[in-house]
């Protein structure tokens, strides 16, 4: 699986993919994502703790939480679940409110059954063509630019 850990101009930074294997059955690995009590035990980098305000694990439901950094800083977070297919897949959107951390992305987490072991494939998708168009619109670009971009998007699509 290709995965980038630093910016490479030859690659489209719109998506990042990684895999990880766990020595535990798939149902157990999946269940660690389904409950704020479980998530509090492992979510976040070393030294972080998590406080959950709201946790609604269903498509369209949100997880509103704050991550307390080891530096004493609090990071507001919002996750909106888009797709839940137990015990195979979770798709969520990260970000999207005024008082939460910057950068929106869509995260896909796939759980593969390896017979007692489990592989997680995780993929982050960053601002898409739609997001790009929104940015152009918000920045008040002229109509010509939007049309050029649209044509360019079509062109790129035919090359892909």
């Amino acid at each position: 699986m290709p995965a980038i850990s630093s910016l490479d101009l030859d690659r489209d930074p719109r998506s990042i993919v990684g895999t990880r294997e766990f020595d535990a059955p798939r149902a157990l690995v999946f269940s660690a994502w389904t409950d704020a009590k479980h998530l509090a035990q492992w979510w976040g980098p070393n030294g972080f703790t998590t406080t959950t305000y709201t946790f609604d694990f269903r498509p369209g439901g949100i997880w509103r939480f704050v991550m307390h950094g080891p530096d004493g800083r609090d990071y507001q977070n919002l996750i909106t679940f888009e797709q839940i297919v137990p015990p195979e897949r979770i798709v969520y959107r990260h970000g999207g409110a005024d008082d939460v951390e910057p950068v929106q992305f869509r995260q896909t987490v796939i759980f593969e059954d390896l017979g007692g072991r489990t592989r997680i494939i995780w993929r982050g998708d960053f601002p898409s063509a739609a997001e790009r168009d929104r940015v152009i619109k918000e920045y008040g670009a002229d109509k010509g630019l939007v049309q050029t971009m649209a044509r360019l998007a079509d062109y790129v699509a035919t090359q892909a």
């Binding site: 990684g18 492992w42 971009m149």
Partner: protein, 134 residues
């Protein structure tokens, strides 16, 4: 606004032509005419790409009247690079912790099973967790 800056940087970088322009500019500052050469594009089309890159803070353009040299602004690229590293670290370290947590859960499960199966549990705490087997 950090959010808009990073979002627009990602959006600007999502286009292969703009990445190629950045790669060219990494070699040194140059004019729009020079930049346009390798691409089958009109000057106005290239200028539009440059506007997107400039708005995203990825390049800066000189103010000299005719020849407006473009140069790369490493700051925005570094912001994105830092953010990607942070994102990567988030999952790497979260999954280290998840791994440890899953081991703990399974160890507990095994102890519970052993205590349920065996004649009696040694550990009081585990014995208290004993549940009738169906």
């Amino acid at each position: 606004m950090v959010k808009l800056a990073l979002d627009s940087t990602f959006a600007a970088l999502s286009d292969p032509t703009r990445r190629a322009i950045l790669a060219r500019l990494a070699l040194g500052e140059t004019s729009v005419t020079e930049l346009a050469k390798p691409f089958a594009m009109s000057l106005p089309a290239v200028s539009k790409h440059l506007k997107v890159l400039e708005r995203a803070g990825l390049i800066a353009r000189g103010r000299e009247a005719q020849w407006r040299p473009c140069r790369i602004e490493p700051r925005a690229l570094k912001d994105i690079d830092d953010w990607l590293a942070h994102y990567r670290r988030f999952f790497d370290e979260s999954f280290d912790r998840l791994d440890a947590y899953l081991q703990k859960l399974q160890a507990k499960e095994h102890t519970k099973e052993r205590n349920n199966r065996g004649p009696k549990g040694k550990d009081r705490k585990d014995a208290r967790n004993k549940q009738p087997r169906s």
